[in-house]
């Protein structure tokens, strides 16, 4: 650890930056007003606790700018078992979240083109292209990304991550931990979980070596406890949408899920979701819905279309359609009950084998069917994501089953989560309009 790095970190992040961000948050929270261009004619005012989402993310990326040489840095996949790294004091960066941020800020295309220029095919996942492009060109809307000291790749979300992280490992010349998770058709076998557990145990040694210290099991238990608590709160927030009108749209969930993904295991994340839940409960008490005129309740399947969240949210709200349940945001809450504070490694092995993308298509169908019933939904939008094959496979049959067996309108919407070249406004509008007319 360089003394210079540490002084810069303490001054620029811990003192100046952090305090300034926190001061701004307090001020904005106190005199809270929705953003100027917020469509209050069709939407509920934006969530007041949303100012903390901004704060958490701003602090996270600001810390990243100064963290090199002060804390060990790990880059991880979105479904990676991060609790061990967290307990070892790693600064953790999620390239997929950074990619989503680039998408929402509408710079993902420019950054992925940097990867395409170096020969990465346009057919590769747009998150991977955004990340590789950011790595090669150093372009990012957050100022600067810290170089990784360790890479952690878990195959429970897709196989692309394996090749993507190998590219990163070669580029940065740092160790790569791969946690290989066997695919779950119905139930995970005991030996599947044992296999993942052994890999987690083996990963401790490498992580300790990079961190330069030993893992404290009591710290690990604490991280698992906080991780579980935050996930449970997130689940409760999503389940609040069983109320009518539903208090928080899926489009808002897409924005406010950032902390549960990249800051889980931190005490601040638990506090944040607890505050958000209070605000949601307040909305329920006062009968405030996410959209003003909730005529129809709809499900969203697959990743968000990051660069069109606002467009879709407003277009649907104008027509009284509230999108209130999603398999995607649910993925960060549904596994919380599996975490066991007393048996951290074993329960992590189980939890990280069971994400929706590591299970059969029948399971996703069941998840959607349950949502249709429990949230009393009228329709489902299945985003067929060009970039995410594991999420999109099976959607054709899932759509037909929802339509024929549950009698809800269902639409397959072809786009891409981060590549705006796969999105044509007029085509998407005409399909969504027809879908809405079908529900009437």
């Amino acid at each position: 650890m360089g003394v210079k790095d540490k002084i810069k970190y303490i001054f620029s992040y811990k003192i100046a930056g952090k305090l300034l961000i926190e001061y701004n948050t307090k001020k904005t929270f106190k005199n809270f007003k929705p953003p100027k261009n917020w469509r209050t004619d069709i939407l509920a005012p934006s969530l007041r606790t949303g100012v903390y989402t901004k704060e958490i993310i701003a602090k996270h990326y600001l810390e990243g700018r100064y963290v090199s040489g002060v804390k060990p840095v790990a880059w991880v996949t979105s479904g990676a078992p991060i609790e061990i790294l967290k307990a070892l004091g790693f600064y953790i960066l999620y390239p997929e979240n950074h990619g989503a941020l680039c998408g929402a800020r509408k710079v993902a295309l420019e950054i992925s083109e940097e990867a395409e220029k170096k020969g990465y095919s346009i057919d590769i996942c747009s998150y991977a292209r955004t990340d590789i492009g950011a790595t090669l060109s150093k372009k990012t809307p957050v100022g600067k990304l810290p170089k990784p000291d360790l890479l952690l790749c878990c195959t429970n979300i897709c196989q692309t991550v394996l090749y993507w992280y190998r590219v990163l490992a070669e580029y940065y010349k740092v160790p790569l931990i791969v946690i290989d998770t066997p695919f779950v058709y119905d139930e995970a076998k005991e030996h599947d979980i044992e296999y993942v557990k052994k890999q987690l145990e083996a990963s401790i040694e490498v992580s300790e070596k990079v961190a330069g210290k030993s893992l404290s099991f009591s710290k690990l238990k604490e991280v698992v406890r906080l991780s579980k608590m935050a996930a449970e709160l997130w689940l409760e927030i999503m389940n609040a949408n069983k109320n009518k009108p539903a208090p928080i749209s899926v489009f808002d969930q897409f924005i406010h899920m950032a902390p549960i993904v990249e800051k889980r295991g931190d005490p601040e994340t638990v506090d944040f979701y607890s505050k958000m839940l209070d605000e949601i409960n307040e909305r329920i008490k006062n009968g405030i819905g996410a959209i003003k005129n909730e005529r129809k309740r709809v499900l969203w399947d697959n990743l968000p279309i990051w660069y069109k969240i606002r467009f879709l949210s407003e277009f649907l709200a104008e027509n009284g359609v509230s999108v209130i349940a999603s398999t995607y945001t649910n993925a960060w809450g549904e596994l919380a009950p599996m975490m066991d504070i007393e048996r951290p490694i074993e329960s992590m092995a189980k939890t990280y084998v069971y994400p929706i993308l590591n299970r059969g298509t029948g399971h996703k169908l069941k998840t959607m069917e349950t949502m249709v019933k429990e949230f009393d939904l009228d329709g489902a939008i299945l985003h067929s994501d060009r970039s995410c094959k594991p999420y999109s496979v099976g959607q054709m049959d899932q759509r037909l089953k929802l339509l024929n067996e549950l009698g809800v309108a269902a639409l397959l919407l072809e786009a891409d989560h981060n590549d705006p070249r796969a999105f044509a406004d007029e085509q998407i509008k005409s399909r969504l309009k027809a879908f809405m007319e079908m529900m009437d």
Binding site: L400, L403, A410, L412, A434, E437
Partner: protein, 255 residues
């Protein structure tokens, strides 16, 4: 002077269709023109001319199609709902409506009482649409009307494997340069297009009868091949191109 109760305007990607109906929903006039880039001016011009012969003082206007945003109308409704309405009222039955347009294909499942149960449109790709044939016709300098005739009278068929409208064009040229007969290649081209449509029909699930609309329904070779592929004789309205505009006009009647 007859009173036009409602006017349906279907401003498609290739053509503009306008239909006027009386109180009973009977078609009083129907107009089909190639779509101008300034479709709003084109529409206004047509409507002004019609006013010389019809009483359109209290007509409702319902617009549909990609250009509908530009058109002044009482209501805007999607092509899916309009085609379903038009086809259902024309044939007085539910079933599978297939609209093959200039760059959009739609397959619509219509219930017994005329409601849209499900639909599918081609996404991100114009394969199997009118443009698929038009591209090649233009490239080979064959008038569109002659394409179907060539295919129908052909005694053989060459397999076109590409379903992409752009790649199929180069495949056609390469077949011709290898000495394949023009009519065999054209027939193969029709087959590729029909297979793409059939596969869309099976995606939503085929529920007879099969009812066609859109300009391509006038192509006899496409109609014959659809029958061969599906084992079901398609029903075709007298003027298939105006079904969307007709549906739109009928929707205006209930406004």
């Amino acid at each position: 002077m007859e009173t036009v109760k409602s006017i349906g305007i279907d401003a498609g990607s290739t053509t503009l269709k306008i239909v006027g109906v009386n109180e009973e929903g009977k078609i009083l006039f129907s107009i089909v023109e190639d779509a101008d880039p300034k479709v709003e001016e084109q529409t206004e011009h047509i409507l002004n001319k019609l006013k010389e012969n019809y009483d359109m003082e209290s007509s409702k206007i319902v617009a549909t199609g990609y250009g509908s945003n530009l058109i002044k109308a009482d209501k805007k409704v999607t092509e899916i709902t309009c085609h379903a309405k038009g086809i259902y009222e024309y044939f007085k039955t539910g079933g599978t409506a297939v609209d093959i347009g200039g760059q959009d294909n739609k397959v619509i499942l219509i219930s017994k009482n005329g409601k849209v149960i499900d639909f599918i449109m081609n996404d991100k790709c114009a394969s199997g649409t009118g443009r698929f044939l038009e591209n090649t016709a233009w490239r080979l300098k064959i008038p569109m009307e002659k394409m179907a005739e060539l295919a129908l009278n052909s005694d053989g068929e060459v397999k076109i494997s590409s379903t992409c409208a752009v790649f199929a064009e180069s495949e056609v040229i390469s077949h011709l340069s290898r000495g394949q007969k023009l009519e065999h290649v054209i027939k193969g081209l029709h087959r590729a297009m029909v297979k793409r449509i059939t596969s869309m029909i099976y995606t939503v699930g085929f529920n007879p009868p099969l009812m066609l609309s859109g300009g391509v329904a006038k192509n006899k070779a496409v109609v014959k091949m659809l029958e061969e592929e599906l084992g079901e004789k398609p029903r075709i309205p007298e003027n298939p191109q105006i079904m969307g505009a007709f549906g739109a006009a009928l929707i205006g009647l209930s406004q």
